[in-house]
């Protein structure tokens, strides 16, 4: 938006400003409220001046300006009318005179349109309020890990400035420490208990609330909360929810919970790819300093907030508070003490690690209630403390300085704990949907004999396909236990990509052991039309049969070569028949054989 300074007030302000010494930039610039069509740019000067942001497509070409003639040291300019998912370069200063920017370091990228997915990288850091070598190392490790790539959002998980969250402490621990990142990456934060020493999240008063601009009226999506203590926002295809664990609810129906449920109901209708929640005090943590079994606010968040998150399908929760890293299983419906935690609360008993026993998988894309939540304690941003790290909900517990890097790419969300030497010491991934991986797996076991037949019936109920793989090696251990834990996929690819099939997520009903291996049977073919999947370990054979409209037989003929695969999605082990040429390839039938 252009707002040239034409008024008399502006002229007077300009004249006044011109008589003063040049202002010094003492904070920022930093970026707030990233929307598809706008960005708020904030900075602080040592003396009051007018405010102006100039912006454009390239440094040296900042052709647009927006300004405010009011004299102030706390500058906050809303740049509106921008194009979604677009990079802008900018400068800040007083009207007509930039004091910083107009170079390669000062830029921002607007958010994708709400609901539009593109790969996102987020950096989250918790309890990072102690300045010094530890915080420097964690920050620099991320810089190294990121390798100069873009960071879409910077997430502060509370206790961002020790000891009491004063403006001065924030200056050193946040604005000076992360200056380079803050001028190009919008920052979000939650209220931690140390912020609560100098700021009051119930009255919204204090330095924390003065220095940040957060949505209160659903400016960036979600439902209006009326407060900067708890709120939500959309960023592309992700819905973020920020809660305030300093006013953890003592009962159902508090203002925060009423808002949370309404916001989640709205989000469910919108059906984003992911819902990510952030707050400070972790509902699951075992430490000598903080124990979620004994600390009141943690217990209350677990009892009163988590049931809503489960019901409406939140995917991941990031907290801080304990000065450690802890990461849970994919959990559901656990609201009691650690002693009450059991296998029934594990949606998936695996570790979720793509380099361990495989990603957590959710059957549906978008949002699905009680599909499991991963809880992360990310509180070792500047300090580690002795903790027992033995909460049974946790897969991983580390007493290491570090931070968490979150990558969201379509139906896949990956979070990695990056320690202070830039090494990844834990990771988990959640993958949504039952579709086949977009590309065939590599390095699969082969068999000398194979056959693939695809039939496009007179009507969709007559569609069918069958794949036989014979004479290869099929070890029981490689197949895992699909009746309980292992995710499998049966997929057929043509030259353009996935053609048929999909995944059979762990515990899909229909699996039974046989004398020679495993068999999946479903007379209705509810999963991709699959009626039968026989895995004969002794004979080294795979037989997959699908039929009906759910089989998804496409228009034929097919684009050769064709590859039929069985993939253990957890381990990556796979078995394949690769058909280079067709025996038959017509509009009604495709047949290919090996040898």
């Amino acid at each position: 938006m252009r707002r040239p300074a034409r008024s008399l007030v502006a002229l007077i302000a300009l004249l006044l400003a011109a008589t003063a010494d040049a202002a010094l930039l003492t904070r920022g610039p930093y970026l707030q409220m990233p929307g598809p069509h706008g960005m708020t740019v904030r900075w602080r000067t040592d003396v009051p001046t007018t405010s102006e942001v100039a912006y454009g497509a390239a440094p040296g070409g900042l052709s647009s300006t927006v300004g405010d003639p009011t004299l102030t040291t706390e500058h906050s300019i809303v740049v509106a009318g921008l194009t979604a998912d677009t990079t802008y370069y900018y400068s800040v200063g007083e009207i007509g005179a930039a004091i910083a920017g107009n170079d390669a370091a000062h830029h921002f990228r607007t958010a994708p349109l709400t609901g539009t997915a593109r790969p996102l990288r987020l950096w989250s850091i918790g309890d990072a309020g102690f300045t010094g070598v530890n915080l420097d190392a964690v920050r620099d490790a991320y810089t190294t890990f990121n390798g100069g790539g873009a960071t879409d959002l910077f997430l502060l998980l509370g206790d961002n400035a020790y000891l009491t969250g004063t403006d001065g402490q924030y200056q050193t621990a946040v604005f000076d420490e992360h200056q380079a990142l803050l001028r190009s990456t919008p920052v979000w934060s939650v209220v931690g208990n140390h912020e609560a020493v100098s700021s009051n999240s119930i009255t919204g008063v204090g330095p924390y609330f003065d220095m940040f601009t957060f949505p209160t009226a659903a400016e960036l999506g979600g439902v209006a909360s009326g407060t900067e203590s708890y709120f939500s926002f959309d960023y592309g295809a992700v819905h973020f929810i920020v809660l305030d664990s300093e006013q953890a609810p003592a009962a159902a129906g508090t203002p925060m919970l009423l808002w949370l449920e309404a916001d989640l109901q709205g989000a469910v209708l919108q059906n984003p790819d992911w819902i990510v929640a952030l707050w400070h005090r972790p509902p699951y943590s075992k430490g000598l300093l903080h124990d979620s079994d004994t600390e009141t606010n943690e217990i209350r968040m677990r009892q009163f907030a988590l049931p809503l998150l489960d019901q409406y399908g939140v995917d991941v929760v990031f907290c801080g508070h304990s000065h450690s890293y802890e990461r849970s299983y994919l959990l559901d419906a656990h609201y009691g003490s650690s002693a009450t935690f059991g296998g029934a609360n594990q949606v998936d008993p695996g570790d979720g690690n793509p380099n361990g026993d495989g990603a957590y998988r959710k059957a549906d894309t978008g949002i699905s209630g009680h599909s499991g939540v991963v809880y992360v304690v990310n509180g070792s941003g500047s300090d580690v403390r002795m903790t027992t790290l033995n909460h049974p909900a946790m897969v991983a517990g580390l007493l290491e300085l570090g931070s968490v890097v979150i990558d969201i790419d379509g139906d896949s969300l990956t979070a990695q704990f990056v320690n202070s030497t830039a090494a990844v010491h834990d990771a988990f991934r959640i993958v949504k949907g039952r579709t086949c991986p977009s590309a065939p797996a590599a390095g699969c076991g082969t068999a000398p004999k194979g056959k693939l037949r695809i039939t496009d019936g007179a009507d969709p109920t007559k569609d069918k396909w069958i794949w036989k793989w014979r004479g290869g090696t099929l070890a029981a251990g490689d197949l895992g236990d699909p009746s309980a834990q292992t995710d499998l996929a049966v997929c057929v690819y043509d030259a353009t990509g996935a053609l048929l099939g999909g995944s059979l997520l762990h515990a899909t009903p229909g699996w039974a052991p046989t004398a020679h291996g495993l068999r999946y049977s479903d007379s209705l073919g509810a999963q991709h039309g699959l009626r039968t999947l026989k895995l004969n370990v002794d004979a080294g054979t795979i037989l997959a049969k699908a039929k009906g409209s759910a089989a998804g037989v496409p228009s034929l003929p097919a684009a050769f070569p064709l590859r039929a695969q069985l993939v253990n999605l957890d381990s990556g082990t796979c078995w394949e028949s690769a058909f280079a040429i067709a025996k038959t390839n017509s509009s009604k039938r495709v047949v290919a054989t090996l040898p």
Partner: protein, 294 residues
């Protein structure tokens, strides 16, 4: 920014301390408080002439529950030149937090006589009055403060409502909620509180209008539509109730993701049952909104 910024700056300088000092001592866990006390004490010892260090140490003592020591430290802060408004506000907050509202009132009165525009302090004085059982004075202070504060919070507006309800003035309580929403917009927590009061007083159309306002501002939330139907059904307006139920059902049925959210799927079942059953009065589908105070 202008006047708004001026008001916020005042908050940052003085009133923020008032607000912060009114957080309950339970805000920090014991281990945190111990560490905070140690560090704040060390900081005050290292910078004995810095009034801010003594204010922070007083805050730490307050969080640790040591009221007398906190008050003594505030005296030291005052002698070291801390802003008198900051000190008085902090002293009042310490006393209020310590369940000594009468003593807190004296501190707030003194400050407000000196600075009548200290709106955040006036709000805290309202809390002190409320603790003393003087809901009328509390309501007056809440009203004056919340109509002047640059950014009132939903929880503060609900406290104003509570004071008026304690006085047996539900209509004025609704007025307080509306005044809050005039500043904040149609906020769920406030609008639902108003709906509850409207229903209690038998103002069905007003309650429905409030839900309509929420629906207009916050989207076609099926739970709100169902609640709208419940209110109409309870009033015997069964045709209109069924329309609301049907709209709620349609919203859920047209969103596959809504059917995957268990609470909405349960609501769907109840709506479907209500729509297939013979029309009769008072067949609630959605639970009434819970009432709460901050």
């Amino acid at each position: 920014m202008g006047g708004f910024a001026t008001a916020r700056r005042w908050c940052a300088r003085a009133a923020c301390l008032v607000g912060a000092l009114c957080l309950p001592a339970a805000a920090l866990a014991h281990a945190d408080v111990t560490e905070l006390l140690q560090r704040a004490q060390a900081d005050a010892a290292a910078h004995p002439r810095d009034p801010e260090a003594h204010l922070q140490y007083a805050r730490a003592l307050q969080l640790g529950g040591d009221v007398d020591a906190a008050l003594a430290e505030l005296d030291i802060a005052a002698r070291r030149g801390a802003d008198a408004d900051d000190v008085d506000a902090a002293r009042g907050a310490v006393l209020l937090d310590a369940q000594r509202p009468q003593a807190a009132l004296r501190e707030f009165d003194r400050l407000l006589q000196r600075r009548p525009t200290a709106h955040a302090v006036r709000f805290q004085r309202g809390r002190a009055y409320l603790a003393l059982g003087d809901a009328a004075q509390a309501a007056r202070d809440f009203e004056a403060a919340l109509t002047a504060l640059p950014e009132p919070q939903p929880e503060q507006v609900l406290l104003w409502r509570d004071a008026l309800l304690r006085l047996g003035r539900p209509a004025e309580a609704i007025g307080a909620l509306d005044a809050g929403m005039a500043r904040l917009g149609s906020i769920v927590a406030l609008q639902m509180a108003a709906v509850e009061l409207e229903v209690q007083d038998g103002r069905v159309d007003a309650a429905v209008a409030r839900l309509d306002a929420l629906l207009a501002a916050g989207g076609r939330n099926p739970a709100w539509l169902a609640q709208r139907g419940d209110i109409l059904a309870a009033a015997g307006r069964l045709g209109a109730a069924r329309d609301s139920y049907q709209q709620a059902l349609d919203v859920i049925d047209t969103h596959a993701s809504a059917r995957r959210a268990h609470a909405l799927n349960d609501l769907r079942d109840r709506l479907a049952a209500a729509l297939t059953s013979p029309p009769r009065g008072s067949a609630p589908c959605a639970a009434p909104p819970a009432r709460s105070s901050p």
